[in-house]
């Protein structure tokens, strides 16, 4: 078999897009994208969330098909109808989530689904010796010293990412797609990964590299291609550009977001005090105060530790150090039920999975966090619950038809409102909103923001987290910026624009 042999005839991959458009129903994810990626170079692909990056990757990986336009590899037009087609054209994707089986060995993972076989006493059996020999060849060929017999679970995340790339390279691709390969890596592991990328570049592999970390671009990429709202904006040589230029291309002349008039916040006595909070590997030494009626935004990229911080304060995850005080009471190390009793509510980012019990009716979900107060002597009935159900449905404009139907029948926006309503039924004094606008339509998003503002004017303190920085700027009274698990800046949204905030999120405090 040839796949274990390193190819010496420099794998060339010239990738060209001609007017490629992808529609999902009425939404245009990618519009008339035309660009040629020169062979043998590392091309960074930049764009904010929803800009069309992932659509582009999906098209290249053969996961979806373009609505119109053509993709060509080395001058030959391609029509990928399955990931297999992309494979055959020499395109291999390393996805953001690792796709290795942790219990299996490195070698077995590399050859998963195509294990080499041999004949023993007339039986067709797996050729373990051959497998590990080939795996070892591949690994050393990439300049790595990983034992191919080790289980993947024994490796660090960085090594796992590298194994993932080795696995991809065992297919001998001419084009390699790397989707945020460094998002989970520590800086030392990033170095190791970059060394591998350098090696592949020297061999002539064309790479498309997606990242949110601006500093990495200048370290590893040759060019940077920017897309915005599905449109090709431009491509620049890294040698001849600056972070500011790239951010400018990503956001365009983003109009300043409009904020409703907000009342002044009395910042004398904090309601929630967090001091030196640390959860090893997630966030480190985080301190902040939250005041009555204030909406505190937390900005940061995926993996910056925002969600982990909120979960830990809420008591859903263990903390390693630091203290939490709510209304002057020490709540360090409390459980979610104690936090709820103390007046804290939390709407999690993944509402479908952990925000709601999908099999239960809307009514049950709305009362789920407040069964204690609704019940009298532990007894509960629909009659007792009804006012609580009705109030939230009316206040939050939840469109649910019959509240006795499973909540799974509602749209994303309405489900999100049910999660919020569930917590408002507990009459909280502090609310954590983690990505409340994710996956909801524009109108529902407006309504959710209105609810947050309305409740704030009634004295509710909240923390608002969103990947969409425009939203954080719009909704929050004050913004903390998190980077690699630390709070690196505090900014006033009235005196900050998107470009500055994005820069802070990507670079931390250093620039």
């Amino acid at each position: 078999m040839t796949y274990s042999q390193p190819r010496t005839d420099a794998a060339q991959g010239r990738l060209a897009f001609r007017s490629v458009t992808k529609r999902y129903g009425p939404t245009v994810a990618l519009s008339e994208f035309t660009h040629e990626f020169a062979p043998g170079r590392v091309h960074a692909l930049m764009g904010k969330n929803g800009s069309g990056k992932s659509t582009l990757i999906k098209l290249l990986a053969g996961v979806t098909e373009p609505t119109s336009g053509t993709i060509s590899v080395n001058g030959r037009d391609q029509a990928f109808t399955s990931p297999h087609d992309a494979f055959d054209a020499g395109i291999v994707t390393v996805h953001q989530e690792l796709s290795l089986v942790p219990e299996l060995s490195v070698g077995e993972n590399i050859f998963l689904g195509r294990l080499p076989h041999t004949r023993r006493a007339g039986f067709r059996v797996v050729d373990w010796k051959g497998l590990h020999r080939r795996a070892a060849e591949l690994l050393s060929d990439m300049g790595l010293t990983i034992d191919s017999r080790k289980p993947v679970s024994a490796l660090s995340v960085g090594q796992q990412q590298v194994v993932e790339i080795v696995k991809a390279m065992s297919f001998n691709p001419s084009i390699l797609l790397l989707d945020e390969p460094t998002s989970a890596l520590a800086s030392k592991e990033v170095k190791q990964l970059f060394a591998l990328i350098e090696r592949l570049r020297a061999r002539g592999v064309t790479m498309i590299y997606i990242t949110h970390r601006m500093s990495e671009l200048f370290e590893i990429a040759d060019t940077c291609t920017v897309i915005r709202d599905g449109h090709y904006i431009g491509a620049v040589e890294m040698r001849a550009t600056s972070p500011a230029e790239i951010v400018g291309m990503m956001f365009g002349d983003a109009a300043r977001t409009t904020r409703p008039p907000r009342q002044a916040i009395d910042r004398v006595k904090p309601l929630l005090e967090v001091r030196g909070l640390t959860r090893a590997g997630h966030f480190n030494d985080v301190s902040f105060d939250l005041y009555r009626g204030e909406i505190l935004g937390i900005a940061g990229l995926l993996g910056s530790g925002r969600t982990e911080l909120m979960r830990a304060i809420f008591g859903a995850d263990r903390i390693d150090a630091g203290t939490v005080h709510l209304e002057g009471r020490s709540m360090t190390g409390a459980t979610p039920s104690q936090m709820r009793a103390a007046g804290l509510g939390y709407t999690p980012e993944n509402r479908k999975e952990v925000g709601l019990v999908q099999s239960l009716p809307t009514a049950d979900n709305l009362c789920m966090a407040s069964l204690g107060p609704i019940a009298r002597n532990g007894l509960i009935s629909r009659r007792r619950e009804q006012p609580h159900v009705d109030r939230q449905i009316v206040d939050l404009h939840i469109k649910c038809g019959d509240p006795e139907l499973p909540v799974s029948s509602l749209s994303g926006g309405n489900q999100q409102k049910v999660v919020i309503g569930k917590w408002l039924n507990t009459a909280p004094s502090v609310m954590f909103f983690d990505e409340p606008s994710r996956g909801v339509d524009v109108q529902a998003k407006r309504q959710i923001f209105d609810i947050i503002w309305q409740k704030a004017s009634e004295g509710l303190s909240s923390i608002f987290v969103s990947t969409e920085l425009e939203e954080v700027l719009e909704v929050a009274d004050r913004i903390l910026v998190m980077h690699h698990g630390s709070v690196v800046a505090e900014v006033d949204p009235t005196r900050t624009d998107l470009t500055q905030l994005y820069g802070l999120c990507m670079e931390g405090a250093s620039k």
Binding site: P336, S337, R340, V357, L360, D364, A369, T426
Partner: protein
């Protein structure tokens, strides 16, 4: 099903169809009872019906608890062994303390101990899941094996039958012409139905079984809920075990062999999902009656014991398939 299509013609078709979708097991049970009344000699006699109800009662008392356990997303395989253990504990106390404190006091003391042991074992099974992440399937499988051993150790391997006069009334006697265990069965049904439907605890059981993490993030003490449902089932097992010991007049380590499977089968036939979060006490009542009628009917019709096993297996699979199909149709 053929029954329904026979009785319907033309435009009235969708009403029975809807009924069949909403009350599938109720209709099938009714059809079965009708069939047995017509085909099984002696099925419809009062004595036989009361006999079925008595048998069903012992099973059902536990099955109602098991329903809560399964809805909460767990399982308890130890109830058969738990029945034997409870009977042996009561019998041992009657044997050892009758001289000292009188027969009935000894029985009551033994029952209190059996109840405490049953509840504690269940409760700790739940906490084991929390503390050591041991699935309840494993813990209760271990108990399934161990409790029978303990029961035999208590009795020394022989049936213990020193009970006070009148003790046999609990399992074998009649009150107003109805077997006494049937009252306990009815009471347990009412209590569990109420608990699951009209208390915040019951709501929490559904939430925990439907989505453990969502329940936890709603501030529900998920482990307490699970431990309590298991403890409750342990206590109900002790009650059933005492009734059975009374009925057979002895505490033995070999009582109720294989009962756990009948209990779980009844719960599943009643439409409770093994994945958790879905199920009703009412459904389990139907499931229990269904199993009771089937085995009684087959015995009356002289079906061999081996065939009865085969039929029971088929029914369990059929009930689950029916529920899956209906889920899709709804």
């Amino acid at each position: 099903m053929t029954l329904v299509s026979q009785t319907t013609e033309g435009d009235g078709q969708n009403v029975p169809l809807r009924l069949l979708k909403t009350y599938p097991m109720e209709i099938i049970l009714a059809a079965l009872v009708l069939f047995l009344i017509l085909m099984a000699p002696g099925f419809a006699s009062t004595a036989n019906i009361l006999n079925v109800l008595r048998t069903v009662a012992m099973l059902g008392i536990i099955a109602f608890g098991m329903t809560a356990v399964i809805i909460s997303g767990e399982i308890d395989l130890s109830v058969g062994a738990g029945v034997a253990l409870a009977g042996c504990i009561v019998a041992w106390f009657a044997d050892a303390y009758t001289d000292a404190i009188g027969g009935w006091s000894a029985v009551i003391l033994g029952f209190a101990v059996a109840l405490t042991v049953g509840f504690s074992l269940g409760y700790l099974t739940g906490r084991f899941r929390q503390w050591f992440n041991v699935p309840t399937f494993i813990t209760t499988l271990a108990l399934f094996a161990a409790l029978r051993g303990v029961a035999n150790l208590i009795t020394g391997g022989f049936p213990l039958s020193t009970f006070p006069a009148g003790f046999d009334f609990l399992g074998g006697g009649y009150l107003f012409g109805i077997p006494f265990p049937v009252y306990i069965f009815a009471l347990t049904f009412a209590a569990m139905h109420f608990l699951m439907k009209y208390t915040s605890f019951g709501r929490e059981v559904y939430a925990v079984g439907g989505n453990m993490e969502a329940a936890r993030l709603s501030g529900i003490d998920i482990w307490k809920v699970k431990a309590l449902t298991l403890g409750l089932t342990g206590a109900l097992t002790a009650i059933s075990g005492t009734l059975i010991a009374s009925q057979i007049g002895a505490g033995t380590g070999t009582t109720a062999t294989g009962m756990e499977l009948d209990v779980i089968a009844a719960v599943i036939i009643g439409g409770t999902s093994l994945f958790g979060g879905k199920g009703r006490i009412w459904g389990t009542l139907i499931g229990v009656l269904f199993l009771g009628c089937i085995s009684n009917g087959m015995t009356l019709m002289n079906v061999s014991e081996y065939w009865q096993y085969v039929v029971r297996g088929g029914i369990i699979l059929g009930a689950v398939l029916l529920n899956q199909v209906l889920e899709r149709v709804r």
